[in-house]
């Protein structure tokens, strides 16, 4: 069938209103990746079980793979691209680079979002608090401990910058 004109939906992503044409029950993930070209948000499982697709919705980490587009109308969506600026990565992303805290990197956007969400609420977390906040993210390469160290380093950097 020809792709007849589906619904137009407006969504606020990284501070910009974006109009997309798709069915309102389309998962936010595909809107971000394909309609808006924001490929940093990744598909991992489609069931909200691995965290690769995390974005911030109104500042809180949420799974974009099982969030329908209609549910984010009038909400503020931040993707990993919206966290930093060119040449000025988010402190968590910078700390991950500094600590070489990744292997394949496929999980890392979701980790950055999850950690940024944590640090927005608590800029002085304990190691256990970091681990528990990151329990919604899976990592298969075994970069966990480096990631935890990087998040703690990012927390100190954030505190120092205030």
């Amino acid at each position: 069938m020809p792709d007849t004109d589906p619904a137009r939906v407006t969504v606020l992503v990284n501070g910009r209103p974006e109009e997309v044409r798709t069915e309102p029950d389309t998962a936010l993930l595909y809107v971000l990746r394909n309609h808006l070209g924001l490929k940093g948000t990744r598909f991992g499982c489609g069931l909200g079980l691995c965290g690769a697709c995390l974005v911030l919705i109104d500042g809180r980490p949420a799974y974009s793979c099982d969030t329908p587009l209609w549910a984010v109308q009038d909400r503020d969506v931040t993707t990993v691209e919206g966290l930093g600026a060119p040449g000025r990565p988010h402190p968590v992303a910078q700390a991950i680079l500094d600590g070489q805290a990744a292997q394949c990197g496929y999980c890392i956007s979701g980790v950055v979002i999850g950690a940024a969400g944590l640090l927005a609420e608590n800029d002085d977390p304990s190691e256990d608090e970091v681990r528990s906040a990151l329990d919604r993210n899976l990592c298969r390469c075994g970069a966990h401990n480096r990631i935890v160290r990087a998040v703690l380093a990012a927390a100190s950097a954030l505190r120092a910058s205030r």
Binding site: Y30, K39, R42, P89, Q100, Q103, C104, Y106, G142, N145
Partner: protein
């Protein structure tokens, strides 16, 4: 100059043209092409270091070109912890020769002897102050010649970049983030494909009502070929909806084909198998003539394990019809995270009845790759869909349930070890026996095509039961089955199953995981029976000084001798030299067992010879150990008679952040030894160390993985 030297490293001998390995660009860049691919292990960075050091340029000038057929050297598969050994040694010799050739060009220009010239970051200087550079002299014809091996590579003592922790070249893109994964490709006019796999292993597609799916706006076509069913759509969300509709409408005839998972060891022991003696040594009964006084034996078991990468398998393909419209002259381009672009090209050509030069395959990174996963299969899926819509690229991404359910698994196995010991408990003779499927169904290894979709197509042959590489190439089921200890006599027998209810293939460390788990558990059992300390017991029977050194280092670093047991905690050790020929690794695990087994700490000592990138190597060992801890504590592919049921993260749990142990890694000094791969060395020793620590904690010997509460209860004495 002499003809091609027989001394060339094998990868270079097979791909001798220097210009195939590197190219100097006037812009001050060296392009380096390796046949090895980035799997998330950081190999391209390590290879860039090798090239930069030999050329005397800064590593930032090196641009690693992703492997592609027709462009890159053919180095087969990126597997077996051999990339640095294979590609690194080839690049070392090729770059040394390229350096000499460019120096020769400068020397001719100035009419001075080449050996008075120096190179610093690509700038060539003569003693009289004149200077030029690779970039000024850049000329592809200079390297358009076969390697001779005449230029002497640097001595290890002169390395400036090799041996330093150069940051990974791929990570800035991944953190920026810039598109880097095959999943992120967005080609002009690209369509989205999804595959509807059979609902079970033995299912046959009787009928599919494709009407509802094709009626969805945006669906381009439904492809059916035997039991292969897929859909192509303009948008990814439409492809997903259409695949769901097809799944609902498809009628399959199903029949049970899988063994009883609750009694998997019994199936493995009884299934038809080919038996072979892998290794045998009949030494004197005992050097001191002491008789055997006791015999011990035990059976160990590992389940099937899933690769379970964070990103599912994916690929993009484009079929371009010939200008004349001749269907036989189609050109097929494939973008894939396969471990081998050339083997995949040959297999796709074979499966699709095309000539190899009609197929081009390019590597684009995927999620972490730990062996033969679904990457090649996804490439075939994409190719089949692309051939149905010539002129438009099609991207296929597997579902999570297909990734956990249909990619090849690391094979389940039973290992039996029996030993006769003398009055001190020292081993006099050792027998190691393995039952299970082989570890190799990679494309190109057997007459039937080794691609999932090919086996589902009309007339497709089933994928042949897995084979095993020979022991001299590291072995499969037999990997690490030959004891590394100085036992006077041993015999290793493998029963390779000739039926394959679930497809198995290479998963990180292959048989080394089960064999080292079994051997090192059994060593602890023997030590306990003799009333001896597990470390002393091992050292007393281990002759290899490098092996002894890692055991001594890990016991020192972990405070083995000063360990004070408390309540429900325990510690244990595991040791192996990976493949009996690669890196040495000893692991001490500290566990706590209350309601479940928690690993608190892993202390690891590794001797990998020359380490190209210390931080990268540490990252690999640490990651390998954490993954092995996850396999050991949690992982087991579950299935019923029809199909795999552990097809989501909640049914195939892996270790999470709050469950991951502290990991502390020490590398032994290189002592001028050649580099050895480190990506797989910790797998077996970690499993054994954890099982031994669990025994130390609660006094229960669990011989079946994973070490869950259920298996612990089953292992308790009646």
């Amino acid at each position: 100059m002499t003809a091609t030297s027989p001394e060339l490293p094998p990868s270079l001998a097979a791909n001798p043209r220097l210009g195939g390995w590197l190219r100097v660009l006037p812009a001050g860049v060296v392009e380096v092409r390796s046949g090895k691919v980035e799997l998330g292990q950081g190999v391209l960075t390590a290879l860039a270091q090798v090239a930069a050091d030999e050329l005397d340029v800064e590593v930032a000038r090196v641009r690693m070109i992703a492997a592609a057929t027709g462009v890159s050297p053919d180095e087969g598969y990126t597997a077996g912890s051999l990339s640095v050994q294979h590609s690194g040694s080839a690049l070392r010799v090729a770059c040394a020769e390229a350096r000499a050739i460019y120096l020769g060009a400068a020397a001719r220009r100035w009419d001075v002897p080449a050996d008075v010239l120096t190179v610093r970051d690509g700038t060539i200087a003569a003693p009289d102050g004149r200077s030029t550079s690779y970039w000024e002299l850049a000329d592809d014809t200079l390297l358009d010649r076969p390697a001779t091996g005449q230029a002497e590579p640097k001595a290890a003592a002169r390395y400036r970049i090799v041996g330093t922790s150069v940051p990974r070249m791929d990570l800035p893109d991944k953190l920026a983030p810039r598109s880097r994964y095959v999943h992120d490709m967005a080609l002009d006019g690209m369509l989205y494909g999804r595959i509807v796999r059979p609902p079970s292993r033995g299912a046959t597609l009787i009928d599919v009502g494709a009407g509802p799916a094709t009626a969805l706006p945006g669906v381009v076509t439904v492809v059916r070929d035997g039991n292969f069913l897929g859909v192509v759509a303009e948008r990814e969300e439409v492809a997903l909806r259409a695949a769901d509709l097809l799944r609902q409408e498809a009628k399959w005839q199903e029949q049970p084909t899988l063994p009883d998972e609750d009694d998997l060891p019994a199936f493995l022991l009884a299934a038809p198998a080919e038996t072979s003696v892998l290794a045998e040594s009949a030494g004197p009964a005992d050097p001191q003539g002491r008789p055997a006084v006791r015999s011990h034996q035990a059976f160990y078991h590992r389940p099937y394990l899933a690769h379970a990468a964070m990103g599912p398998s994916a690929a993009t393909a484009l079929a371009t019809p010939s200008p004349a419209g001749n269907a036989d002259a189609v050109l097929l381009e494939v973008w894939t995270h396969s471990q081998g672009v050339y083997p995949l090209r040959r297999e796709l050509a074979r499966a699709l009845k095309l000539a190899p030069d009609q197929v081009s395959v390019r590597h684009v990174e995927g999620a972490g790759c730990y062996g033969h996963n679904g990457a090649d299969d996804a490439a075939m899926d994409a190719a089949l869909l692309a051939l149905a819509v010539p002129g438009r690229p099609v991207q296929v991404v597997w579902s999570r349930s297909d990734e956990l359910g249909w990619a090849p698994f690391g094979p389940a196995a039973v290992v039996r070890i029996a030993a006769d010991v003398n009055a001190h408990g020292d081993v006099l003779s050792w027998r190691h026996e393995i039952w299970g499927n082989g570890h190799a169904t990679r494309p190109g290894l057997a007459r039937p095509v080794g691609l999932l979709a090919a086996s589902h197509r009309d007339g497709g042959e089933p994928i042949e039961p897995a084979a095993d590489p020979p022991l001299e190439r590291g072995g499969g089921a037999g990997r690490n089955a030959v004891p590394g200890y100085a036992f006077p006599a041993y015999r290793v027998v493998n029963h390779r199953l000739s039926v394959m209810p679930l497809r198995t293939s290479s998963l990180r460390s292959l048989g080394g995981f089960a064999n080292v788990f079994a051997i090192e558990s059994f060593m602890d059992e023997l030590a306990a029976a003799a009333g001896r300390d597990p470390v002393e017991y091992r050292l007393a029977q281990l002759a290899d000084p490098r092996g002894r050194a890692v055991i001594e280092a890990v016991t020192r670093r972990s405070g083995w001798a000063g360990w004070t047991p408390s309540g429900s905690s325990g510690h244990g050790i595991g040791y192996a030299r990976y493949k009996n020929s690669s890196a040495y690794c000893a692991v001490v695990a500290e566990v706590e067992a209350v309601t479940e087994v928690r690993v608190r700490r892993l202390t690891i000592a590794v001797d990998a010879g020359l380490v190209i990138n210390p931080d990268g190597a540490e990252n690999q060992v640490e990651g390998g150990a954490i993954q092995a801890a996850s396999w050991t504590l949690k992982e087991r592919v579950r299935f019923d008679g029809l199909t795999v049921t552990s097809d989501s993260w909640d049914r195939y749990p892996v270790l999470r952040f709050s469950e991951v142990p502290a990991v502390d890694v020490e590398f032994m000094p290189g002592h001028g030894n050649p580099p050895l791969g480190v990506g797989e060395t910790a797998q077996g020793p970690t499993a054994a160390a954890i099982a031994n620590a669990l025994h130390d904690a609660i006094g229960v010997r669990v011989r079946a993985l994973p070490l869950t509460g259920e298996q612990i209860v089953a292992a308790m004495p009646d």
